[in-house]
């Protein structure tokens, strides 16, 4: 495994201010996930297929949104990218190609070098992801120390201060503890932490959970700015379709551990083909039409160790027909960048 650190000197002005959508789709592929499947094993039950054959790619500078209900495998998918599944998790199939290198082939210590330096993560629930008895600055420096990027003590101090300023926290608060930070600041500190080693890919796992709308907007704006400023590729895991529409370039809609629909953001919002995507969009308030009713999707997501034999969405789907309950739909390619796993789109 070659070193994956980036040694560019960073100045906001030197970086591409806005990555136009045209060049984005031609940019280098950083992360190529192919047919990734994750099982959770347990002694007395059949394995739960938490993620099944999910594929997606992430280009340089792209922001990919991953949406879906709770328990649809979003976080599991993200953790498996860093090979940090809980003890019962097993990656049973697929490849994770990061800059051409399959992460699943690496030894644990090689993987340790990729973590944070190649791919870093902003965890959901910043309070829990920060060690309460260590200062914020100390925790930001942690990753830099781990990857032996420290040049001198002064340099490290400056770097930590620089990172804090980058996310809008004044540098003199670096010696404070997490409980002295507000919720939004903690989340900012988490972002600073994720950027500490100049990673190429940042996974933001529901970065705005438990924050109010104002702070949510600030955090997302910050993420979006940083992405342009630093040329990051971001995977944004969220429930919030509004957020996705605002900042993402492409969207992966997951349902019950499988890809429901994968397309660029325009297609997803304007021409969704999968009934789940359609209903998910229908379940969102439309500000331009205040009289429209919110439609809930009836039923519950499937239990992962007791999946329906056919399409996983079949029990809740309005358009389901006989075949749906017997045969798993495959991913159909519609156009250059639009994948849908539904029997309905087969003949198009």
């Amino acid at each position: 495994m070659t070193r994956v650190g980036k040694s560019t000197t960073r100045g906001p002005s030197q970086q591409i201010d806005e990555i136009s959508s045209k060049t984005l789709w031609q940019a280098n592929v950083l992360l190529d996930v192919r047919e990734l499947s994750v099982d959770f094993v347990s002694e007395d039950q059949s394995p739960a297929h938490a993620v099944e054959k999910v594929s997606f790619i992430l280009r340089e500078g792209e922001m990919l949104g991953i949406v879906g209900e709770s328990g649809c495998g979003k976080t599991t998918l993200m953790l498996s990218l860093m090979r940090l599944l809980p003890a019962a998790g097993r990656i049973v199939n697929g490849q994770i190609l990061f800059m051409g290198q399959d992460l699943l082939d690496l030894s644990e210590s090689q993987m340790g070098d990729v973590r944070w330096k190649g791919i870093s993560m902003i965890f959901q629930g910043a309070m829990n992801a920060l060690n309460p008895v260590r200062t914020i600055g100390d925790q930001i420096a942690e990753g830099i120390k781990r990857h032996q990027l420290v040049r001198s003590k002064e340099w490290l101090d400056e770097r930590v201060e620089e990172l804090l300023e980058l996310v809008g926290i004044s540098a003199n608060r670096k010696n404070q503890y997490p409980h002295q930070y507000s919720g939004g600041m903690r989340q900012r500190a988490m972002i600073a932490m994720a950027l500490a080693c100049n990673p190429q890919v940042v996974i933001a796992d529901e970065p705005t959970t438990a924050l109010d709308v104002m702070i949510q907007a600030q955090i997302l704006e910050l993420l979006d700015n940083l992405r342009h400023q630093l040329g990051l590729s971001v995977i944004l895991v969220t429930h919030d379709l509004g957020v996705v529409a605002e900042v993402c370039d492409s969207v992966l809609v997951m349902y019950g551990g499988v890809t429901a629909e994968y397309a660029d953001v325009d297609t997803t919002f304007n021409k969704p083909e999968h009934p789940y995507t359609q209903q998910l969009l229908g379940a969102f308030p439309d500000l331009s039409n205040p009289k429209s009713k919110l439609v809930a999707i009836p039923g519950y997501p499937p239990r992962l160790n007791d999946l329906p034999p056919g399409c996983r969405f079949e029990p809740r789907c309005q358009h389901a027909f006989d075949r749906c309950s017997q045969e798993k739909p495959v991913l159909h390619q519609l156009g250059s960048f639009h994948e849908v796993s539904c029997h309905l789109v087969e003949n198009r």
């Binding site: 990729v114 993560m121 965890f123 992801a129 008895v133 942690e142 990753g143 010696n175």
Partner: protein, 308 residues
Amino acid sequence: MTVQTEVTGFRGIWGQLRRNKMGIVGLVMLLLAIGMAIFAPWLAPYDPKAPVKITIDDIYAPPSAEHLLGTDDAGKDVLSNFIFGSRVSLTVGFFASFIAIAIGGTIGIIAGFYGGRVENGLMRVTDIMLVIPDLPLAVVLVALTRPSLWNIIFVIGILGWTGTARLVRSQSLSVKERKFVLRAKAIGGGNLYIIRRHILPLVLPLMVANTVLVISLAILNESTLSFLGLSDPTTLSWGQMLNFAFTRGAMSAGAWWALVPPGFGIVWVVLGCTLLGHGLEQILNPRLETHHLAVGKQMVSRSSQEGA
């Protein structure tokens, strides 16, 4: 790497400890005891080991100007014995608790962090140690080995770690499930790194608080063993003093001065440890520092004009 926290550490701890009344009282009590142990030869009016010529009147003589705390069964000065006795009691207390905390802490963290079979194995050993009655085993062990000061320290140490191990295990069990451990893994940290930098800092306050208890337990244990006549007869500890006083008729002679000082010494040191320990815990656990949920009258502190 650990240096960084300590740089801000010790100064900060002292600065905060000064404002912590309970901790300061404990510290002063403990320092007095330690000072007494260190400067024993200068403080004690008599040398307890020096041979004395005594008459029948010198045995259990009540406190007088010559002997401030009276004399014991051998006609020796109780005050001097008391002062020199602190050396033994404190040595045993500190070293034995150090051994116990080291064993218990290591076993607890390893069991809690690694889980599975490792945990099962270690915890069953702990359980076995826990159900064996301490005192009889200590008596047997001390009786089998030569009764020397270090043997007693060792025996108390290896018998006193079980509580610490269980406590530390349960704490590290809960700490290792916290998100920041996952984050530390995501940073690329290995198991040892995570234990050192993320588990230990959260377990440490508990261990400090526990050390206090173990010190007092060790001192009590030593006193018990000495009282039962199992310590080195040539070293004079507070427990030993109690033993001599008890077995050699201090009670029937009404010589309270032979019994009270060693008992008082034990209580003094144990109390000092406890107070200091609680004070330290308040400081070492930063979340206790600002009381988010503190309720009290000072919460409403508008100026009197506003109220009127």
